[in-house]
Structure formats: C-alpha cells, structure tokens
Assembly symmetry: C2
Homo-oligomer: 577 residues x 2
C-alpha cells in the first residue's frame, strides 16, 4: 500500500518538491512540472507527461539525452492543459516542442488544448501519441500507452539531443511508436495515498492478462503460472500483434530482426523476479529470430505498488537503434557507453579457482590417511543410525533438521574423500577435503561449523609429519575446537555442541598429558562428552542466542552436543578395535 504522505490530496505536489530538490543538478521545478537545464546548443524540446504514480515515468525521465520537460498531474490523473502549457513554454528553446504521452482520453484532451494554445503563440508544437499496449485494442490507433512510453520518449529525446529539427524528431518519434508493442500482466492492485483499500484487485493466485496500468480491464484472468510459461504468454502476445510495414515505418516488423526489449516491473514485482523472467524470455526471442539489443529490465513505467510486469519490443532499423543505444542521464535512467569501453572480461581460462594440488605426504602421513578415512566412514554409519533420534531432539527447540543436516554433511564428506582416488595424500588433505564438502553440502550453521572444524583439524595435522603421535591428535582436536569457538561465538552453557566439545578437549589433553596414550585418553574423553551432552538438558539457554524457541528445550539435551558425544564415542570404539 501507499504509506508515506502527509495530506493525500497534496501527494503529487509534495513528492515533486523532494524530487526537484534531489535532482537540482539537472532540472528545476516550474508550475505544472519540471524542466531540464539547458546545454550549450538549443534543441527541440521533448515534453513528456501524464499522471503521477508511474515513477520514473514521467519526471524521472527528464535530463540530458532524454526529455526536456515533464508535466506532472495528480496520481493517475491527466495534468491540466494549463500545466502542459506552462511546462512546454518553459522547456521551449526556440526550436519547437514535441508533446508526447500515452493515449488516454484526459491526456489527449489536455495536451491537445495546450498544443493549440502554444501554436497560437507561434511555438511550433507537435503531438506524438504512444499506443503500444496490444491488449487494449485490436486497432493500433486506439491502443493505450504503457511501457512503450519509454522507447518512444527515448527515441524522441535522443533525436532531439543529437540536434535534429522538429520535423525529423517528430518523424522518428512516430516511427518508434509504430515499431513498439507491449503486453503485460497484473498480479495485484495498487492503493492510492490515503486509501485503505486497493483501487482494484486481481483474484487471489491469479493474474489479469492485459490489465492496464490504472486497473483498466484486461483480456482475461488466469491462474498464476511458472515464469517460463508467463514468458511464452508475453512473447506470443507481442508476436501475434507484430508490426507491419507502413508508410510511417516502411521497414518495421518484416526484415528487421533486431529489437529493443524492456521487461518492465509495475512496482511490487522485484528486480530479481524480472531478471529471472528475462532468463526465460531471451531464448524465446532467439527462437523467433529476434536479437535483443541492450535490453532494459527494471522499473521504468510503474503503477504505485501494483504487482505485475510487461514485455515491450521495439523493432529496430538503423535509425531507431541509434536512438535506443544513445547515452541518457535522467534521474530514473542513466546510460553511458564510455565507462565500459575500456573493460575486458576475465579470460575464462585464467579463472583458476581450482584447489592447489595435494602435497606429497610423508610415509607416516600416507600410512595414517586410510585410518582417517575409516574414521569418517564410522561417523557416517553412526550419523545415519541416529538421524531420526537427533531430529527428534532438535525439534523440541529448533526446526528438527539437525539429524538431516549432519547426514548430508558426512555423506558429502565421504563423496569428496572417495573422489580423491588412489593418488598419494596424507591425513591433513583428507580432513580438509572432507570439511569443505561437509560445509558445502550440509547447509545451516552446524554444517559450516563442522566443515570448518574438520578443515582446521586437517591443517593442524598436516600431511608431512615424520610421526603422528598423541600430541598430533591433541593439536588436531585443539584446532577443531578453536575454529568452532571462533566462528560460532557460542560459550559453554549456551546449549550447543560447545558444551560437549570443550570438556572433551580438556579431558583428552589431561589424559594425554597423564601418559594414557591417545586411544585410551580419547575413550575416556568421549565418556565425559556424552555426560556433558546429557547434562545440557538441565541448562536454561542464555537469552539472545540464536535459537528463537530455545526456552522450550529445557529438559531436553541439546542435539548438537548429543551428536558430538555420539561421534567421539564411535571413534573411540573404532580406535579400541
């Protein structure tokens, strides 16, 4: 809905004040609208206009290379003839005025009256109507103007900026309109400032095919469809009304296979959605033998907060292509070829994002690698066996996906290890490969933490030690713990795997220092971890931590701590065998 205003009746004037303040470097407010600052040479004035609520149409299109002035009516309401007259008079530079606007009864009347008045004062004034909406009428001249406003205004503005005379500018504008076709759909209505209900509605989960930018009736309602089907609907709709050659535009439609293309969003429909739609439209144009030239995808002619989009094509001859590619620098549309001319794409061959090769392992390292892989397979077995139970525990306080995430992580790690093949590698390389794959496949925070922990353990272990003793195990576990503490930022008592992991590390180190040997120290530490995990059930989670439902988990052990306890226990049992 439209939310920001003071007095709804003053919306159009108030927003124009802010707009004119922001863009005082290239335009100024005059009674009825805005006019562009002038360049060194006088040019034909192209004055665009219509109601407010369509930004960047119409005031946002005023600037070098585009319109010389915009008449700004109330929301969705034609400006008065007096407003048109006032803006045109201020925009005129002595070379005549083109008044151009979408074909709506109110605009036709008011711009028409103003044109008469200007002519009576000796200002050569021409009118160029935009009639691009193929859904609005089978008769070309009776069609409404929608996003095709943009191609026609730009052709006029570029021709004027290039210094053409008024006959020439008018001729190019008419040719642009004759070569332009649009077809659109609406997903939802829009709300006028001050209103609590939308101006019109579209049936739920439906779209209005051919519905106008002020809610004018369309052709029919259809259920919402996937983007690829909508792309076909829009392309087919335009191609079925493809322009025919005419006296005004002798080459249009036939022969010309190059087209200017616009995918226009009406307001609520997001740029990402429009990019996605373009990805579906592009191959359909290719298949129809049409080459899109510098396509524009975005909000160019909007309708307040209406949902929907349209496709516009302008069939190009050489002259229209020149106007379409020309530079322009308006508040709502800026195009400059120059900043791009010196750029060079990165050579795909030079995009070396591959990993470095595995370092040559020491004999001890090569010997340890198969044991590490066996350990990972044991983890895989343990996690698959406990997936459902871990999910059940997690569901009390979280979204219940802990078991699933851990299984996805270890499965990815095992795939990565299997992919290492038979080339020589050490235990550090195995753990790094496993950790990266775990993080990529598991998703979620615990996946990232486990991946980072395994990678850090591998880095600490290295592949080239002369011997891998209890100290090496201690260092690897220490690196694992440090990585998770640093990245996860959780502390003991937060009800996370940290509650089991830190006591495990401390018990392991104490056992090793006491001379128990790595395997015995590990098994004892695993018991400590399991107990600690169980004890998380008694903890009240700290306030402000990541889990929104954590207060419900009092009385339930933490799933992350539980899975940690299960895994170190399984590895301890493996080492004992």
């Amino acid at each position: 809905m439209t939310t920001l205003y003071n007095d709804p009746a003053e919306f159009a004037e108030d927003q124009l004040l802010g707009f004119a303040d922001l863009y005082a470097d290239r335009l100024r407010a005059v009674p009825g609208g805005v006019v562009a600052h002038r360049g060194p040479e006088p040019i034909v004035a192209v004055v665009v206009g219509g109601g407010s609520g369509h930004y960047p149409a119409f005031a946002g299109l005023v600037g070098p290379g585009f319109a010389s002035g915009a008449v700004v009516g109330n929301i969705f309401t034609s400006p008065s003839a007096a407003q048109v007259y006032s803006v045109a008079k201020a925009a005129d530079q002595g070379r005549g005025v083109i008044l151009t606007f979408g074909n709506y009864a109110g605009d036709v009347m008011n711009f028409g009256i103003a044109a008469e008045r200007l002519r009576r004062e000796g200002i050569d004034t021409r009118v160029v109507l935009v009639t691009d909406d193929v859904a609005s009428s089978p008769v070309e001249e009776q069609r409404r103007g929608i996003a095709g406003d943009f191609t026609v205004f730009k052709a006029l503005g570029a021709a004027a900026a290039a210094g053409a005379g008024i006959d020439e500018v008018e001729r190019i504008g008419r040719a642009a309109n004759a070569a332009t076709r649009s077809f659109g759909v609406a997903f939802s209505g829009c709300t006028m400032p001050g209103a609590t209900e939308p101006l019109f509605t579209v049936p739920h989960r439906h779209m209005g095919v051919g519905l106008g930018i002020h809610g004018e009736p369309g052709i029919r309602d259809e259920p919402l469809m996937p983007a690829r089907d909508l792309a076909r609907l829009l392309v087919d709709g335009i191609l079925s009304a493809r322009p025919e050659p005419s006296d005004a535009a002798p080459t249009r439609g036939t022969g010309a296979s190059r087209v200017a293309a616009i995918v226009n969003g009406l307001g609520t429909t997001k740029y990402e959605e429009l990019f996605l739609l373009w990805n579906e439209i592009r191959p359909l144009l290719d298949a129809a033998g049409l080459t899109p030239v510098e396509p524009e995808v975005g909000e160019l002619v909007t309708s307040l907060d209406m949902g929907g989009c349209s496709l516009t094509l302008m069939w190009l001859d050489e002259e229209l292509e020149t106007t379409w590619r020309a530079d322009a620098y308006a508040p709502g549309y800026r195009k400059q070829a120059a900043p791009l001319s010196e750029l060079r794409p990165v050579d795909p061959g030079a995009l070396d994002t591959a990993e470095a090769a595995a370092p040559e392992p020491s004999a001890a390292g090569a010997g340890l690698a198969p044991l590490v892989i066996a350990g990972l397979r044991e983890l895989q077995r343990t996690l698959h066996e406990n997936e459902a139970e871990l999910g059940r525990i997690d569901a009390v306080a979280g979204d219940g996906d802990h078991g699933r995430g851990m299984v996805k992580g270890i499965d990815g790690a095992i795939r990565a290890v299997d992919a290492l093949g038979d080339a020589g590698f050490g235990p550090g390389w195995v753990l790094r490969s496993a950790g990266r794959a775990w993080a990529a496949d598991a998703g979620g925070t615990s996946g990232v933490l486990w991946g980072a922990g395994l990678e850090a353990a591998g880095d600490a272990l290295t592949d080239t030690r002369e011997r891998y003793d209890a100290d090496a195990v201690s260092e690897a576990v220490g690196a694992f713990v440090d990585a998770i503490l640093e990245l996860g930022r959780a502390e003991i008592g937060d009800k996370t795997l940290v509650d089991a992991m830190v006591p495990f590390r401390d018990a392991l180190n104490a056992g090793i220092e006491a001379g128990s040997g790595a395997a015995r120290a590990w098994a004892a530490a695993a018991e400590v971890a399991t107990d600690a995990a169980r004890e998380t059930a008694a903890l009240t989670p700290k306030k402000g931590r990541a889990r929104p439902l954590a207060e419900k988990s009092v009385g339930t052990p933490d799933a992350g701590a539980t899975s940690f306890g299960l895994m170190v226990t399984a590895l301890g049992a493996l080492a004992a065998r």
Copy 2:
C-alpha cells in the same frame, strides 16, 4: 508477494543467469556469483556479498567504480565459504582482496573461512564488516548491516578504483563504516518465492521501528504516522547515535557537518513516497546543522517485496566525500558527473509563461463584452440553482459530481472575469479567460470540455469585429461544438452533452438562416436542446464508452445534456429580456 519463478529452490541461481546475461558488457558469472570485467590497470578487488533478495545489493553493485565481485547466496541466506572463495579468487587482480558484507552470523562465518583459505594461498585478504543499524544494538560492533552497506561498499570501491593499495582501501572502508549510521522502519513483511504466506508480518496500520531487513525484531511497533513525523523519528534516531571520533576515524561526528544521505526503499515502498519523505527529512538535517551531499533516494538495499524505508547518514571528511562523489557504473547504480557539467539552469526570469496581453477591442467588441459577462453570471445563477438536481441525475450512472464540477467551473470563470478589471477588452477575451479558468477549476472531463468550448468560442468571436451579428453567434457556437466534439470524441447517442448540443447548434443555424434573428433562433434552439436532453433517458449507452455504470442510467436523462439544456434556456431568457 514473490510471483515470478520456476522452481522456488532455484530462484537465486535462475535470476542470476538473467542478470549476468543482461550485464554481460561489464561483468560475468563465475561459480558463486559475478565478477566485474577488468580495466587497463589492476586494482584491489572489493568483493561484496550476502544472500539474494536485496537487489541492487549485492550483484547490482558490481562494475567500474564500485565492487569487483559479488557473492550471491540463496534468498536471505549467507553464501557458503566455497562460494566466497570462488568469487574472490576470480576477482583478485594480484593486489589483494577486501571482503565486505553486513554483520550477520552466517556471513561472518563463511566470509571468515574463505578469508583464511585465501590467505593460505598467499592472497592478501582483509575483512570490512558493515555495522550501521543503530536499532540493532547499543554496541557499535554488534550492530547489523543494512543500507549502510551502500556507503561502505562505495567508499571501498571508489578507493580501489582510484588505485589505492590494500592497506589504504581497508582503512577508508573502516572509516566509512565508523562514520555511517542507519535507522529504518518496516510497514509490511515479504514473501519468499514459493511461499503463500509472508515470512513475517507487521500489525495492520502499524510499522515496526528498527525492524531488520530479514524481519529481525525491532525496537517497538507504532501506528503509521504522517511522513513529516516519520522523518523526525528517523532523523532523531540517527542523531541520538551520532558517531563519536575514534582512532579509526578521528574527525567523524564532531566538526564535520557534511553528510552523505540515503533514503532507502525496501521494495514495495514507492520512489514517489521516498521523494516525499526526503522533502520532510531535508529541513530537519538543515536544522541539525548537517549539509546533505549528493543524497541518494531510491532502492539500494531491498528485501524482496517488503514495505518500509530507512535513513542512512555517513559523516564526511574530505577523503570520504571524494569516495562518495566518485563516478560508478554498476547495473543497479550509475553516477557520472560529466553529463551534467555543461548544463545551465533556465534563468527564472526567462521563464515567461504569462499570457499575452488582451488585444485592443473594436468599439463593437467593447460594447458586447458586458453582455457576455452578464450571460456568464446568468449561467452561474442557473448552475448554483440546479447543482443538487444535476448531482442527483449524475449519481444514477456516474459518481454524482456533475453539479459540483459545473459549479466549480463557472465560479472559477466568474473569478477570472472579475480579475480582468476595468481595462478594455472584447467578448473573445472574456470567453477565453473564462474557459481557461473553468477547465482549471472544474476538474474532470466535462470541466475540460466546457473550458475548451468556451475558449474556442472566444477565439471564433474575436475582439475586433466591426459588428457582432447573428452570423457571429453562429460561428461562436459552431466553434464551441467543434472543440467539444474533437476533444471529447463522443457521438450522438452516447448519452453525453453532445446529444443536446448538436441539435441545438443545428436548430440555431436553421433559425438564423431562416432569418429569425439571433435571439429568437436561440430561444427556439434551446427548446430543442431541452427536449433532446430529456430524450437521452430513452437511450441505451453504447458499450465501451467511458462510463462504467452506464447501463444503470437507462431511464434517466443524461446530466451533461440536461445542464446544457438548462444553460442555453437561461441564456435565451436573458436575451429575450
């Protein structure tokens, strides 16, 4: 809601394909995101990123003068460390990499892991966090990154583009973040692709003050307020957390009175609304002694189709102002000082939109003018007397405002005539002045038509005839009728004033040709018009004309035709006296 997609799970990838196709002139897709094409000289690579759904953040900010690469995660989800690594590796030009992103746990983890990996490969990698959202925490370092992403990324991109070394670029980026503050409000939630319900909601007719761009909790809910009150809330919110000088930015906050300013729209909130809000914010900044420098108002960091906006200020020293004003040419943000440098505003003194002076009337013209004015006063009396009845008739088929509109029109016309004063003028000038005022004040189609008709009648009558005879009356009425037929495009039988007006003209002309004299011919024609207006009750309005409820009006005379009949009758009676 989010409407355009194929498989919701593939939304982020699909939209990126369309995006990369559209902007192949300045960037290319790589695994994990996009990288900019390279200029002639290698520069420090500034790699931005985060989840999708925030366009133009983050991919839309890649291009000359801005980011060298963007990592693109799933919607509202951190990219993986592998994605960050891949994009940074491709963006690196041998001068090091800056990773920069908003302060969210997932991003901190994944970008952090990637930074470690890049450093291990010998790539000098720095991390610059954005922490601008003053609503998210009292502690600077713990704040979230929202629209301040834009000022910090731009400072980094501009410094890198200027050729600075990595230490310098990092220092400027940190200074930019230390000098940036944002505060925002949300009006409505957003809908993920494939979802039928919004991700979160804001209570009806309320706004979430300080609510985050993914729906993170804010400070409080408040009822919607006028734009001027919201402006104060936002400005006060930022000023209360104004930056203090620090080691990283010794001059920030104090002393510096120049600020970069952004009014950012979250998605559904329209540009016009943001301009209107800027018009309220600007004077508050002035009052606080802050000079906004090249403010940006628009969609820079969005949240799918969320409604809401935020204000961002970056306190400028000379160095930061240079980066803020620098050119940039990314898909979602283009700024080039050059096209504006040669422009000059139109001199307000030269904006002569005043009317030409009244021509000197002939003796006959000067004599007729008072009678024309008397006629207009008679119309005023008649319309006031019948306002309610005309409204009642109009309400059957239309919106019931015909009587009100006609009264507003004639009152405006009389005011204009009164304003002419005592200077000499003829009947043509009186009618032209009255017509223009009528069109401006009445509003609606009938106001424009009556205004144009009177103006045309005045033009036909002129002020300088030697005598004003019956033929002059016929010519004036003919011009009145022609103007309305041409502008209104209605035909006889459409249930409009045309149904009474055309028979009136024809009867008048027939009477004058038969030698009845103007007054008698007029009175007879007025009876014809009144009968014709009454007969419109029997007409079925033609399909497809302007009146949406016209079918209900069968059996009711047309209000426009009725008022025409009333007026010509009153003028006839006046002439007979």
